[in-house]
């Protein structure tokens, strides 16, 4: 497990100055200046869009702070100073078409190879370190039950929640007395079972060879982890859930993927606002059914293989504009939500991106990435040379540091990202 820091200063700053005597007075002054808002916890929200964005409509022509908004980014123009659009990133040794998405938050190489085993995703690394502070170490949402962008230490895709209504109920709606009692009983029974099967696993561990022991170790540590979660569930079971002052959220109808996406974003915001969790991942997977938006007569996957057909590209843009509108709405609410003395957005490293740079050719370079929050100086197009692409994991190092982890590497990272300040 990674070391956990209790200090609230941006780790980026600390790491840069570590070991430099000169930096000390500056460090003090920074602490003083930031003390009011530094008491607010740091959050992370990562959004992955399966079918990517049509790059010519997304990336601006110019780089730097003085750039003209691209057709897609015009939808976010109210937030121009609150986001950074990054181009030219990719994951080294990830060139695997649709499978590339599996590596988006992990950086694991060759996700399309027949015997691929994924590695841990950043949200789970962060949850291990800071998850104990909240009711839920992390939340994992997706618009499709069979797609997850969150992976455990063993590379297991963690099952996502797809229903905004269920997620809302779990987080904010108090059960009846009988339901609470049932829950407490279920947790106690679970603890009794875990206690005993843990001993069984221990006994079996002594019987097996080294390669088998690795599997039993996974079992055993899962038992231990679940025991911890049950303890937490037990302590929370009889406490009232936070009241966020909104009506319960209902699930959208079939085909309304984009509405589902927006509602899941809203649940994520409410959960972070109430500090029920500090880490959320959300996967947007356009369904294979024709979407509900007027003007789009094909499913998202079909449109993403536009083969340069202009009609298909136009329809594709209808879907992608809607997605970015939802993102803009999320940014707006994150700015309006107060967190301590400042905006919730400022404490939340928020990123939307995709595992392919060009879904029409299944190309996994020049990945689209838009970052907000996380105390960066936003408002620029941070363009990297696609011929010499920095690993996307360099950005994930920033995210982990924002969350207070004392790390300077993650997966295939080579450092932090130049130009992100």
């Amino acid at each position: 497990m990674l070391p956990v820091t209790k200090r609230r200063l941006p780790r980026r700053t600390l790491l840069k100055s570590a070991g430099i005597a000169l930096a000390l007075p500056w460090l003090d002054s920074m602490q003083a200046a930031c003390s009011a808002e530094a008491s607010q916890p740091a959050r992370f929200l990562g959004v992955l869009n399966y079918f990517s964005f049509h790059a010519p409509f997304l990336f601006p022509q110019e780089s730097g702070y003085d750039y003209a908004l691209s057709p897609y980014l015009e939808l976010l123009q109210d937030h121009k100073h609150d986001f950074t659009v990054i181009s030219g990133l990719n994951h080294p040794d990830v060139r695997d078409g649709h499978s590339s998405d599996k590596s988006f938050f992990t950086g694991a190489p060759h996700p399309g190879s027949p015997s691929f085993r994924n590695t841990v995703s950043i949200d789970q690394v962060a949850a291990e370190a800071i998850g104990h502070a909240t009711r839920y170490p992390s939340l994992n949402f997706s618009t499709s039950a069979s797609y997850s962008c969150s992976y455990s230490r063993g590379g297991v895709a963690l099952p996502p929640e797809t229903s905004p209504a269920n997620a809302f109920a779990k987080l904010f709606i108090n059960g009846s007395a009988a339901e609470v009692a049932e829950e407490v009983m279920r947790v106690k029974e679970g603890q009794s079972i875990l206690d005993r099967i843990g001993s069984e696993a221990k006994r079996l561990q002594r019987e097996v060879g080294p390669s088998d022991r690795d599997k039993l170790d996974q079992y055993f540590s899962s038992v231990r982890e679940l025991e911890k979660r049950m303890l937490r569930a037990e302590s929370y079971a009889s406490r009232p859930k936070p009241d966020v002052g909104t009506q319960p959220i209902e699930d959208p109808g079939p085909g309304e993927d984009i509405v589902r996406f927006g509602l899941l974003l809203e649940v994520a915001r409410l959960a972070m606002q109430a500090d029920l969790t500090r880490i959320v991942t959300l996967y947007y997977v356009g369904s294979s059914k024709t979407p509900s938006q007027p003007g789009a007569s094909f499913a998202y996957h079909d449109l993403s293989h536009h083969g340069q057909n202009s009609d298909k590209i136009d329809q594709l843009a209808i879907l992608e504009r809607d997605l970015l509108r939802q993102w803009g709405e999320f940014l707006k609410r994150m700015k309006e939500t107060r967190d301590g003395g400042s905006r919730l957005l400022d404490h939340t490293f928020s990123v939307v991106g995709a595992g392919m740079g060009n879904a029409s050719s299944h190309d996994a370079t020049n990945l689209p990435v838009i970052v907000s929050g996380g105390k960066f100086r936003h408002g620029q197009h941070l363009a990297h040379d696609p011929k010499n692409p920095p690993p996307l994991c360099n950005l994930w190092v920033h995210a982990l540091q924002h969350l207070g982890l004392e790390v300077d590497a993650f997966s295939s990272s080579t450092g932090t990202l130049n130009g992100l300040t």
Binding site: S222, G253, G307, S361
Partner: protein, 857 residues
């Protein structure tokens, strides 16, 4: 390690290693092998060292390191997986004569043989030793389909438990390989939940519910809100029948919810229906009117749908309705609470007439529907309940309200629980259990009872513990020859995807399953049973990647004729073709080419084959295939002889394979080539280099993928891989993303000059004719082919690679581990010994199961 397993281990260890090594040097040998790090690297003795330095270092030393390989520095560290893989690659390249490259000076034949033999021996003995001490199969967890099958077979539950469990890791496409099946806290959470659901569902809390039989007809629909069809666009077909029209509304054709609501469970629907068409009729006065006629056969889609929830349909099936008379058909499905049966017209049965029909003109005339359910095996309580609670009586929870609910009553809870747990555990752990294991579960039962929980809930907690424990979730095997219980489990999970049945368990208890004759007879029994359908489905899902049949939706403008009925037919075609190969022990050559196919009329239409006669004949002589694995009433696939020049035959020209190897809009010879090399020919290509951009397809019709690829692979750096990759892909270029034959690409009409083509059978569906397809090419060795037929001939000149490839896949699936280097010897033996039956598919399965890889951990 318990005594049984220890004794087994020692005995097997000695017998297994004895033939390989003289006993007196066993210890030294073992130590040398285990600590063989760098032994060879520093030795480099004799011919191997000199071979490497004289033939390899020129390109693969520290200075040049072609392909990232520096042989000078490559130590012999076989315990390191990467290192071992590199040496294996060196072996393969030199053995196949790919290295040194043809333009370099070649070693003398004897020199090459010496080097290859020496390296083979090292690689072989290293892996064989690891197998002896650790086994080749890593501790294997039940995957989610095995887990769900097991609980279904054990408890008779119908909830789709696999949907509760996290996705499983894959190796080589298969989801049952121990090394790739990891476990996380998410699994444990879900296992607890799944066991809870299954145990509750299996627990009976009512008297035997009368299996309701309800019949409804047109009158009901019209007069009784509760018992009729939801039929917004119904048509009264004059004679009083109800006719259902497809309107695009998901709710159309759904039976309304029942009052009182039907409980969750399996139901049987018997439907009597007929096909009808609505047509414009002009009378003597020249007046046009709508009329109903019975002149065409239609396909009806049936399924389970919900008016209240999402309107989604589950478990869809397709039946053919005749215009001439009413036909009865039967459909069985699980109906979740709040859901109901639905039937809608789906499409016309194809015929040669090219006529214009709107989908709304088709009607399914329903005489009546009979619903029977919830179904149970006839005994009450059902077997699942009796497994959990034996013959304990059911008594009212509240004696004053005897009708409100029942619960299992025990008058001597301790004794009953001990007896029931002692019966349950060996069943789910698949072997006799130790007293301590029974005590551990009883202990939990007692604790729960003391907490004040009712007897059945406390007992369920103990069962839940068993179903979440490592003894249940892992197929734990001991290095060496498997004992009879472990062999029974491996056989049963391999062929039935579930736990051993009573007969296998009895044979294991009698200790005779390890006899080759008994093992063979049991393999025969399992292969011939309906449960073997799980083997077919899972094996093909991994081998041919058919699990992705749903992944893409073909572009609806380019391929408007593609529909869900075709898709389910495509999958059924490949699955039943495989069953046919197994049933009749047909040669592996059928993988590539075959003189028969298994089709329905929808597939025949798709493949543009005129087989009307064959279908008529099959209906009269009843020579149907399906082996009982498919509901007999559903529109069936039949075995037909392929006419000459059909361009079909074999897996590689089946629509399911052609679909999963394309992306829905375009085909890529590179992707299909890699698919054939990896899955059919057994020579998987290296992964694509990371510095070359993908070729971007263009459907505007200006350039073909071949023209784009020409530019790409004419670069020398690309040429060597593409020489292998492209030929099978080009041979298949005449098949589009739906598996249909094409001579020209399809394009989306963009300009007035485009040549517009009609889809056969429809005037409405059009696409622009693109550039012509060129399928002729040449193999890496220079032999050329004009089209798919000639390509197939070239491949079939030597069927051994096909056998070798499929044996490797069978080993992976049946044992749960991908083949090791030492298993190559077994593969070769199997290929040799099955030559007499031309490598018949059933012989291959038997040979794998009789071999060391299957009978040993």
């Amino acid at each position: 390690m318990n005594v049984r397993r220890l004794a087994n281990f020692c005995a097997q260890f000695l017998s297994f290693t004895a033939p390989l090594v003289p006993n007196r040097c066993l210890a030294t040998f073992v130590i040398a092998t285990i600590f063989s790090i760098n032994v060879w690297g520093s030795e480099r003795v004799g011919n191997t060292a000199s071979f490497l330095s004289s033939h390899c270092y020129d390109c693969h030393d520290a200075n040049t390191s072609e392909g990232g390989l520096n042989l000078q520095e490559l130590d012999w560290q076989p315990n390191d997986v990467k290192n071992f893989a590199q040496w294996t690659k060196v072996f393969d390249k030199v053995e196949r004569g790919e290295m040194p490259p043809s333009e370099e000076q070649q070693p003398a034949a004897a020199e090459r043989t010496d080097f290859v033999n020496s390296l083979r021996e090292r690689l072989h003995s290293h892996t064989l030793n690891r197998q002896t001490f650790q086994g080749r199969v890593v501790l294997r967890r039940l995957n989610r389909s095995e887990y769900a099958n097991t609980l279904r077979d054990l408890l008779g539950v119908t909830t789709p438990l696999e949907e509760l469990l996290p996705e499983d890791g894959r190796a080589d496409g298969f989801e049952n390989v121990g090394a790739a099946l990891n476990l996380s806290v998410a699994h444990l959470e879900r296992y607890l939940e799944a066991a809870d659901q299954a145990l509750r569902e299996a627990t009976v809390a009512t008297r035997e519910p009368p299996t309701m039989t309800i019949r409804t007809d047109y009158e009901e629909t019209w007069h009784d809100y509760n018992h009729g069809f939801q039929n917004i666009h119904w048509a009264n077909a004059a004679n009083g029948d109800l006719a259902i029209r497809w309107t695009g509304s998901a709710a159309n054709g759904t039976l309304r919810a029942w009052q009182p609501p039907t409980p969750d469970g399996r139901y049987r629907f018997r439907v009597r229906a007929r096909a009808m068409m609505q047509r414009d009729v002009v009378n003597d006065q020249g007046e046009k009117s709508k009329s109903f006629v019975h002149d065409r056969r239609i396909i009806a889609k049936v399924g389970v749908a919900s008016l209240l929830k999402d309107g989604l349909a589950y478990d869809e099936a397709y039946f053919e309705l005749s215009p001439d008379d009413y036909r009865e058909f039967v459909y069985e499905a699980r109906v979740p609470a709040g859901h109901s049966f639905a039937i809608v017209p789906f499409r016309l049965v194809p015929n040669s007439k090219d006529e214009r029909v709107m989908s709304g003109d088709m009607l399914a005339v329903v005489d009546w529907v009979e619903i029977e359910g919830p179904l149970h095996s006839g005994d009450w309580p059902p077997p699942g309940h009796r497994l959990l609670y034996g013959e304990l009586p059911l008594e009212p929870v509240d004696p004053d309200a005897p009708d409100d609910g029942l619960q299992v009553a025990s008058h001597s809870p301790q004794a009953d629980a001990r007896r029931l747990i002692a019966d349950f555990l060996p069943r789910v752990f698949r072997r006799p259990v130790a007293n301590a294991e029974i005590e551990a579960h009883l202990d939990l039962f007692r604790e729960q009872l003391q907490l004040g929980r009712p007897f059945d809930a406390a007992l369920r907690a103990a069962y839940k513990m068993a179903l979440t424990s490592p003894q249940f979730l892992f197929l734990q095997e001991v290095p060496g020859r498997l004992d009879d219980y472990d062999l029974a489990a491996r056989l049963s999970y391999g062929l039935w995807g579930s736990l051993p049945d009573d007969e296998l368990t009895r044979l294991a208890a009698d200790g005779c399953l390890n006899s080759p004759e008994v093992l063979r007879a049991q393999t025969e029994r399992l292969l011939s049973a309906p449960q073997a359908e799980r083997f077919t489905k899972q094996f093909l899902a991994g081998w041919l990647n058919l699990r992705e049949i749903n992944f893409t939706q073909p572009d609806t403008k380019l391929y408007p004729e593609y529909d869900a009925y075709l898709q389910s037919s495509l999958l059924a075609e490949s699955e039943q073709f495989f069953e046919e190969l197994v049933r009749h022990n047909l040669s592996v050559s059928h993988i590539v080419d075959s003189d028969f196919a298994i089709l329905n009329e929808r597939l025949a239409e798709h493949y543009e084959l005129d087989l009307a006669e064959s279908f008529m004949q099959s209906q009269s002589d009843n020579s149907l295939v399906g082996g009982g694995n498919f509901p007999p009433e559903q529109s069936r696939l039949v075995k037909v002889d392929l006419p000459p020049g059909s361009k079909r035959g074999g897996f590689i020209t089946q629509g399911a394979v052609l679909k999963v190897s394309a992306n829905g809009t375009t085909t890529s010879p590179v992707v299909r080539g890699a698919y054939v090399l990896d899955r059919i020919l057994g020579t998987p290509p290296d992964p694509p280099p990371s510095n070359v951009p993908s070729v971007e397809p263009d459907i505007r019709g200006a350039t073909t993928i071949r023209q784009q690829l020409d530019l790409h692979r004419n670069q020398p750096a690309c040429a060597s891989c593409h020489a292998e990759l492209d030929p099978p892909g080009f041979a298949l270029e005449n098949y589009d993303v739906t598996g249909r034959w094409r001579t020209h690409y399809r394009a989306i009409p963009e300009s007035a000059g485009d040549k517009i083509v009609k889809i056969p059978g429809s005037n409405e569906r059009l696409y622009a004719q693109g550039l012509p397809v060129e399928a002729s090419y040449w193999l890496a060795d220079g032999r050329s082919f004009a089209d798919i037929d000639e390509f197939k001939q070239l491949v079939l000149e030597d069927r051994e690679p096909l056998a070798r490839s499929v044996v490797g896949k069978l080993i992976t699936y049946l044992t749960g581990a991908t083949p090791d280097f030492a298993d190559r010897q077994i593969v070769e033996q199997i290929v040799t010994q099955t030559a007499t039956s031309q490598h018949g598919m059933r012989d291959l399965i038997h040979a794998v199961i009789q071999s060391r890889v299957f009978t040993h951990k």
